[in-house]
Symmetry: D2
Subunit: 389 residues, 4 copies
């Protein structure tokens, strides 16, 4: 296990700012815990709300120095870039439509960006953000947090080293039920912006959770999508964005797959699941029991690989903090993305080469995600015609 | 529980013949056990193999009187129809292509037919068989055995009485792995005929297991398919029939669904699973743990309903033999189809009305199944275009 | 798979009688189904109730010829022994206190006995029954049905061949909840006799389910008990027999174990579970999901062995009827005891040696069970002192 | 959810020191992460190893100021007590035998103690520590971390408010397998001290994990132990402390229970499980899937209560950080103990009354744990005689 990674922690902590994530926001608090778990960051600045007053109040609650709490992200980018001890990295945890305008302000000032997914609310912004990142010296890390789970890392490694042979099938699903009723009209702030095209973008369930499932399927299988056919639908009357999608996928090289994401499947909390099958074996992983990975070598009994257990590989141990049987969860997986980012940022700081084991989703993965959402919507508009990506 | 159903058993056992199912056949033995479990049948005659000698040998092994063992199904139909104590019903357990020619010989002589699925190897035969059944005084029972499981019955009843509200989604999957390699070329008789278009028909995995999943999804949800889009594929080189299919479905009334069937998904033995979600709740059922049914009323904790447990309904108890916690399995579910058939046949025998609770798949369900397979193949040929059924 | 075991079925069916098991009795119907599943028996006679009228009515319902329905077991034993085509074996499925008096009537007339457990309601009867069996030419089979499950057979074989090394621990538990309230006073016939010392004997939960857990722990581990210490208790006020027992066990050779049986553990239907740990690995098996066996070779990932799957041994396949993923249940496990008995009886009939693979619980196992119950009660009376067995 | 508890975080962080927990120690790193997760602490001082040089090296790795890294805990206590910004609390994470000598140095100087379990290596020390705490103005928090899990809190609350009726049974088990072989002799530092009586105390598995299971059983059930009978054993030859224990328990008021702890049960990583059954229902919880709690109201279907789900109570939500389906793990449960301690310490700091919802294990719970271990050993020495506690 790499608990606190000894020598790593000697590096001074990274000074971190945050855009969005004021009181009551779910994902902002998650990012802050994730940044603290492995102790690579100090949160020192924030533009925590689109309302200046709420930003200041949230800053006080978080114990930020008032001089480092900003009314808006642009002021923050400008001033922090000038400070001697200004932030080195910023976490962007706003609704989707603000990812792009916020990110470019920091990228162009050389401040590393750690941004929530999906990358942007539309494809044009996503492409511009890729370019902005290419022109910047700063790093761009996308928090597809599920790829931080140790057994997801292990799954990817097992596929990469050939344990499954040639991949034939990638089955992805991500059902939830929290939007089975129109809760966006009864006061749920989380539901409000996630079902609002102006803030979320073209995709509803496809953008919010479909992108996670898609990213994870590709992350584990190592495959690239070729084309897809989608039947995207809104079940709850009056809702403006999709709350369910059925997608058939064809990957380059001949593998096939399906993806189902839903926010109206009663009885499912956050049931992300990825299954990969190849000529020599199969793997199955579920987010709600993330410490386990089922592995079946073709013609042999099924094995339950556990994080920290006998079958765990180095790639899993490297991002684990506790022994087997002491479950790590969602926050630790998220923390791994932050810690991988820290390793890259610290290497950058000292001009060293990043350890090749370091792995995090990038702006390019973000573009793939937005491309996926766009393709789903386009295919669906054309009655499920195959759309190349 | 309806163990042996007391008064029912007083009716004399039904004299049963069998076509196919000689030594070494898997499904023939299953049918025979299923017929015995609730004691409604006596197996008294058979044309057990396409090879007369093997038929005779199998008859001897089963303890049939030599005079009732036939070289072919036609001789059997002719002679048994004339016998005073000839068979009242016949079980047809041959490869698919023989279902039609065998069935009509018995139907036209007034002998009830209990036939394995899929109904026929092609749509034309299926339609003719529907007509033949309509013209006959005999009953036609199709052994979609999974609809005999008590908790499947319960699921159907819960949907019917509105526990789930309006149905939005039906997710069906049926992965297996036994054909992940070309075992049809290394001596597996089961694999041989199931991958041979001449004996199986147009569908491989779609016909063999896809029809089961489709029938079960419709049986539970009570929905009728409107159209489907399919990506049907053969992964194992040289195989003549599909071994994997991804299907998107649209039901009449607006519900949607997906169906995945595969014979190449390593680590899956017989993992048929149906999930149904409505405006008021969700249900999940898995064939490999058939005594359980997960039920979530929207906004309440998930419940694990068990066969024989506190939440079991009469429709489940009616087809159960043991108390909760004493698991029933595949053979008991299969036996229920036989026993339902027996109740219908016995009612017919005495001119009584069949108990309205009696439920079994019919020739009409069989036509739907073959229509489904045909639509999958047609859609796939047209690159996944939507095909009306 | 040994579906209907081809050549075996050529032997004429065994003529079977039944003592007890009239309408409404749970276990009688189970025995009859178990006897039918593999087609080795014909039920031809019965003394189905202690009330002659009910015996006759039940006989009619089961389709027995009136001349073969008896008012009491003794008349049945006497007359059937004289008939040319009289019964060859009898199933005794009465409450416990009648096992002994019924069994000896058949044993002394050379009729094989298939008897429900526990062997008898007290130790003295148990010892006399062992002697009676020794003096008889007939076989005595005790239906500890759980030892008929294929994966239980596999577990036993894996221990025997050394896969687990030296056994250190045997953990047995058998919680139920059906007696959590005094249902014996509100009309449950099953509860009535099971909580009545006159019919059940000295043990309540210990006799009814503790004996099953104990038998299974010994069956799998191959160990012999040396001594035990028990805390036996009755939680439901007014109940005359124990409804919960905690037992610590020491086996010959140094292994240790625990056994918990309870009829008042809300949420448990029939949750029999046995876990065995040795110097080289561990095994875990649960009755409610009987087709699975967890196996962990020390220092390797856990494996899920499945009935019919890649890791299934011959001893499991030998008593299986369906392929992996097609679950067998309680009735099939029970049927295996009947079929093993049939193989032994048929060998006896023809003077052949019984296939050494044939395995069923005997009168000696029954004595061990009653000894176990008696030791539990005695230890508990002495405040949990260790009692040698 | 109480993510970072807004107003709470405005209180200045608590200055924390650590005794033990240098490089390579498992539990020290866990404590540090736990202290960081909810951001109530700053680690500012340490006596991190019994070897001064290792203490200094570890301090550097953790980024402590060299002036706050001490050669031994006594120097640390003396100097930090005098510093204006000296530590307010200390985490003691040494092997068991050092808990007592370290704790009293801080207690007598008014520094709050957060101490790992078991409380001490022997009963005399435990009693003295209770007195030392009574004489001190400082708080004593024992990190029985499993009582920090939200669904454990919920279980306790459900029992307390009567959902289960009168408690009849508490079944506790805690099997592991990491000591199935003599790894203490092949370089495992964790195994070395845990099997060494000089450092661990009288109990091996009983002290290391038995105390956890016992504390949790009492925490959830609200019961007090009356007496126990134990069969404590060492399976691995040459090992000086027990590696397995079977215990029967009698609680005040008439409830009964069993406890099994083992370090030699192959296939078990950290399988702590508590089941509680009462006159009106039952609860089951497993540490390796801590976000779930099974609840069966007697006579109703089983429910799967989830952290953050529909059935979660306020007591669970209060100590949760993420929504349902986003699993929290071992570190979050541990963090809850730290955060509860922080709330009590901060109240103390400002002279306020502690929120009555705040809940953490105390020195009194620690004494109970050591009493339990001592009673197990004593009972076992007297061949399992009942020992009052």
């Amino acid at each position: 296990m790499a608990i606190e990674g000894t020598t790593e922690t000697r590096a001074p902590r990274i000074r971190l700012g945050m855009v969005g994530g004021g009181s009551g926001a779910f994902i902002g608090a998650v990012h802050r815990i994730a940044a603290r778990i492995d102790d690579h960051y100090d949160l020192v600045a924030g533009a925590l709300s689109s309302t200046p007053e709420r930003s200041r109040q949230s800053g006080a609650e978080l114990g930020l120095h008032p001089s480092r709490v900003y009314d808006d992200f642009k002021s923050m980018a400008i001033r922090e870039a000038r400070l001697k001890d200004g932030i080195e990295a910023v976490a962007i945890v706003t609704p989707n439509h603000m990812h792009y305008p916020a990110a470019i302000e920091f990228l162009k000032r050389g401040i590393h960006v750690i941004c929530d997914k999906p990358l942007t609310s539309n494809l044009a912004d996503a492409k511009k953000l890729v370019k902005a990142t290419e022109s910047s010296d700063a790093l761009f890390i996308l928090t597809h947090n599920y790829s931080g789970y140790p057994m997801v890392r292990q799954a990817r490694e097992m596929v990469a080293r050939g344990d499954l042979g040639d991949i034939r099938l990638v089955q992805m699903e991500y059902p939830q039920d929290w939007l089975a009723e129109p809760v966006e009209r009864s006061g749920s702030k989380q539901a409000e912006w996630r079902t609002d095209p102006a803030r979320s973008g073209v995709g509803g369930s496809t953008g919010d959770i479909g992108t996670h499932a898609y990213q994870l399927g590709c992350f584990i299988s190592g495959l690239e999508l070729d084309e897809l056919a989608a039947d995207v639908h809104t079940f709850v009357p009056g809702r403006q964005l999709d709350d369910n999608a059925h997608v058939m996928l064809r990957f380059k090289g001949g593998a096939k797959g399906m993806l189902w994401c839903s926010q109206v499947a009663s009885g499912n909390e956050n049931a992300l699941k990825v299954r990969v099958y190849g000529t020599k074996g199969g793997l199955e992983w579920e987010q709600e029991n993330p410490n386990y990975l089922w592995y079946t070598p073709l013609g042999e009994p099924k094995r339950l690989l556990t994080r920290g257990g006998a079958g765990a590989l180095d790639v899993a141990a490297r991002v684990s903090r506790t022994p087997g049987g002491h479950p790590e969860g969602y926050l630790e997986g998220f923390a791994t993305i932050y810690s991988e980012a820290a390793r890259a940022i610290q290497a950058k700081r000292t001009g060293k080469t990043v350890d090749p084991a370091v792995l995090y989703p990038t702006v390019a993965d973000g573009l793939k995600g937005v491309t996926f959402v766009t393709a789903c919507i386009n295919s669906s508009k054309r009655n499920g015609a195959w759309v190349k990506v």
